[in-house]
Amino acid sequence: MSDLGFDPSLKKKKKSKKTDESGESPAPESEGTPAVEDELFSGLKKKKKKSTKAFEMSPTPGEEDLSSSFDDLTLKKKKKKKSTKTTADDFEQQLEEAGIEEVPAEATEEDGNVSSGGFTYEELLSRFFTILKTNNPELAGDRSGPKFRIPPPICQREGSKKTLFANVQEIATVLQRNPEHLIQFLFAELGTSGSIDGEKRLVLKGKFQPKQMESVLRRYIIEYVTCKTCKSMNTELKRESANRLHFLSCKACGSTRSVSSIKTGFQAQIGRRKKM
């Protein structure tokens, strides 16, 4: 019975093996030592499969690989120049030819549009932009690149009345702002006070959800980080010592604007009343 139960699986394996790799012939050995060998082979087979798959796959994305390997801008430029030159030469030649005949002229024109190494203009353009996006996304107009990605605020509860804002420091450095300034804004905006603990985390009085923190941070970024002219976040906050005003200067476009100082405004008396 056991033999009968065992046999079909073996056969199956044999079959699959035969289809996969015709070169090897492990069939007789597997008959002699069933369990361990089979496992081994099955592993081997898997590997083989993968490798063959890779081989099969490799030709198709070869073009992509090639295009991505053109990271070197100079190389690409050269290529482009060459191709344009060749097309120009070709075109001239074809024009000369076209002087005699009319019918092939159309065909050559079409060739000129499509050729330059088998790429159409659209393809070249999209390839250029994908390469630009992968290498320097800032130039491609992508502001949400890794450089200006603001980490989400991490808020933990500290006891029942306090909130621990763990990554103020990190966020302030990403925004290129003095953490003191950001903390001052948070205090004013949330109508609370707090302190910085030993690990440079901010302890705020009151309960605040990360979502609420995010909205406050967003307002801070609009007020004190983004350049209103070009919407870049690559800015610097300087304090002019002459007039004690804060100025926001953009590193991307160079524009400067004055920024209002942080005002706490009216703070209501909470808890114990003032002594009369």
């Binding site: 109508g191 609370t192 009151g206 309960k207 923190m213 009216f266």
Partner: protein, 109 residues
């Protein structure tokens, strides 16, 4: 008709609308946390021509909350309301008192 289409989309030299020319005009609506889930809304900078007492009376009735007026030496009279009434107050100021929305600043989370 400008031939450069990009310029029509966004004018970098346009007024951003937040000039500091009249800084005293702003009405600040703030929130403060009290003990527990309780909060407090403060309205600072309502123009003097309005009768704060009457406004407070209406607000208290409309929002079904208590409130009072606090006199601050520098910031003038401030309305205090119990609970988070920020959105409702700003709505009231814009619709009932016809105050421009850009002069109202809602603070807090």
């Amino acid at each position: 008709m400008s031939t450069i289409q990009n310029l029509t989309a966004f004018d970098p030299f346009a007024d951003t609308g937040d000039s500091e020319a009249q800084p005293t005009n702003y009405i600040h609506i703030r929130i403060q946390q009290r003990n527990g889930r309780k909060t407090l809304t403060t309205v600072q900078g309502v123009p003097n021509e309005y009768d704060l007492k009457k406004i407070l009376k209406v607000l208290k009735k409309d929002f079904a909350c208590n409130g009072n007026i606090v006199k601050d030496d520098e910031l003038g009279e401030v309305i205090q309301l119990q609970g988070d009434q920020r959105v409702k107050v700003s709505e009231f100021l814009t619709t009932q008192l016809q105050l421009p929305k850009k002069n109202i600043k809602i603070h807090g989370f």
